[in-house]
């Protein structure tokens, strides 16, 4: 099942105004993504870890999410140190490990982990519908917000449909193998998903028309002010100023 595990928590971070969290996370991510100084990156990593701690994220869940990017980083560590031109750090037989290669790998690894942890702590801790209403307040076009929310709404419906089709395939003793028959079966499964999605969309659209849909997105969600918002705003602005200073003021 598809689950939004981080959004279910109930911590200090979960209570902050989502608009602030989205803008804060974006500003943080932009600054970190363009930084190369190790002082900046380690500070950012510490900040990200603090955010993860105060959002009380499940440590094992965080590690599981980091697995895929870690594999990519491993690939970089396997290729870049010897393929990068530059002064030599170490010689292992025919392989020459260069200093800039190792530096670049370390920078990328720090950035990747830092950006992902911060995203998990600040943005993944809200549900997608909250994100939709938030982005609407942050001037995302109505159509885009509609699409995001409709997709989110019907994601779980389509997933159930998918599971039903897979169950039917299993009952007919379908065992996936590397052959044309399997690929054809999967292609028909995908095709059926699209057909059913399209049929459902027709009905959904009719229902929307019945309720007076005219393309305007009316968000009834309120984001009440609270003290935490100001503390967070202060904290994240201060962190970004510190990061920018560390990176660009030598």
């Amino acid at each position: 099942m598809i689950r939004e595990s981080f959004s279910e928590g109930n911590s200090w971070i979960h209570g902050i105004d989502p608009r602030l969290r989205v803008t804060g996370a974006t500003a943080f991510a932009v600054v970190v993504a363009v930084s190369y100084d190790f002082r900046t990156l380690t500070t950012a990593l510490l900040l990200a870890l603090c955010m993860a701690l105060s959002a009380r994220l499940d440590f094992r869940e965080v590690m599981r999410r980091l697995l895929a990017p870690l594999i990519f980083l491993l690939l970089l560590w396997a290729v870049l140190p010897w393929s990068y031109e530059g002064d030599t750090l170490k010689v292992w037989g025919p392989l020459v490990i260069t200093r800039p290669g190792v530096t670049l790998c370390a920078q990328i690894s720090l950035k990747t982990i830092c950006l992902m942890v911060a995203f998990m702590a600040l943005v993944a801790t809200m549900t997608v519908d909250t994100l939709g209403h938030t982005l609407n307040r942050l001037w995302l076009p109505d159509k885009m917000v509609h699409m995001l929310l409709i997709t989110y709404r019907y994601l779980f419906v389509i997933e159930l449909e998918y599971q039903r089709l897979v169950r039917a395939m299993k009952i007919r003793n379908f065992h996936p193998k590397t052959n044309l028959h399997s690929y054809r079966t999967y292609a028909y499964l995908v095709g059926m998903l699209f057909v059913r999605a399209s049929e459902r969309a027709r009905r959904v659209h009719s229902a929307m028309i019945c309720r007076g849909f005219n393309g305007r997105f009316v968000s009834l969600r309120t984001f009440p002010p609270n003290l935490r918002n100001y503390i967070f705003l202060l904290g994240i602005s201060f962190s970004i100023v510190v990061l920018v200073t560390l990176e660009w003021m030598k």
Binding site: A25, L115, K143, A197
Partner: protein, 209 residues
């Protein structure tokens, strides 16, 4: 086909975001109000279908299907794929804020290109339609891998080896996507041909008689 956060340099990230914003704006502009629900729910189906793992020998790959999304949605593939990527970021943390633009371009631009190149041939007789569908499925993955590789190389010239590895790793995926797209298009042509581009009800009625 994701590039993780923190790998790409600022110019590539900015360029990716700019192209993604511009093309998504075009996609939204071309998406009539009647088709918003259609695009949203197809985007959900695309998200679910991309969770399907098909076996390749001892291992397995997951479907990407951006070629079919292109055929079904045309320019609206941009907002649809952007939506799917936002959901993937929210639920599985594949990708993130700064790479959202680049990743959208990597997947959606090939979809739109294949829609324009292969779309007109889908309703032709099988000897034309089958190669066109294969080209659409395989080509959109190939173009995507090339774009991913290019964004790495433009970040740092020495990413050449890694970029090469990525394109090579996608070769079997290309073949599988091509085959799956051929069958999927054949299925849709039988079951619901009006979903595919260039469908003309009058021509079909004539052909049937």
């Amino acid at each position: 086909m994701h590039i993780s956060e923190g790998v790409l340099g600022a110019p590539v990230l900015v360029a990716g975001a700019a192209v993604a914003v511009a093309c998504t704006a075009v996609g939204l502009k071309k998406l009539e109000l009647d088709r918003v629900a259609q695009a949203g729910i197809l985007s959900a189906a695309f998200f679910v279908a991309s969770l399907i793992h098909v076996p390749v020998g001892p291992s397995s790959v997951h479907l990407i299907l951006n070629g079919i999304v292109g055929l079904l949605l045309g320019w609206a593939a941009f907002p649809a794929i952007l939506t799917a990527l936002v959901l993937q970021a929210m639920m599985f943390q594949y990708g993130g804020i700064t790479t959202l633009g680049v990743n959208t371009v990597i997947m959606a631009l090939p979809a739109v290109v294949c829609y324009h190149l292969c779309g007109p041939f889908i309703h032709k007789p099988p000897r034309i339609a089958v190669p066109a569908a294969f080209a659409c499925g395989a080509g959109s993955v190939f173009l995507g891998a090339i774009l991913a590789g290019a964004s790495l190389i433009f970040t740092e010239g020495s990413f050449l080896e890694v970029a090469g590895l990525i394109v090579t790793a996608h070769l079997p995926v290309m073949a599988i996507e091509g085959i799956v797209t051929v069958f999927c298009v054949a299925f849709l042509k039988k079951v619901k041909p009006e979903m595919l581009p260039g469908y003309d009800a009058a021509v079909f009625a004539q052909a049937k008689n």
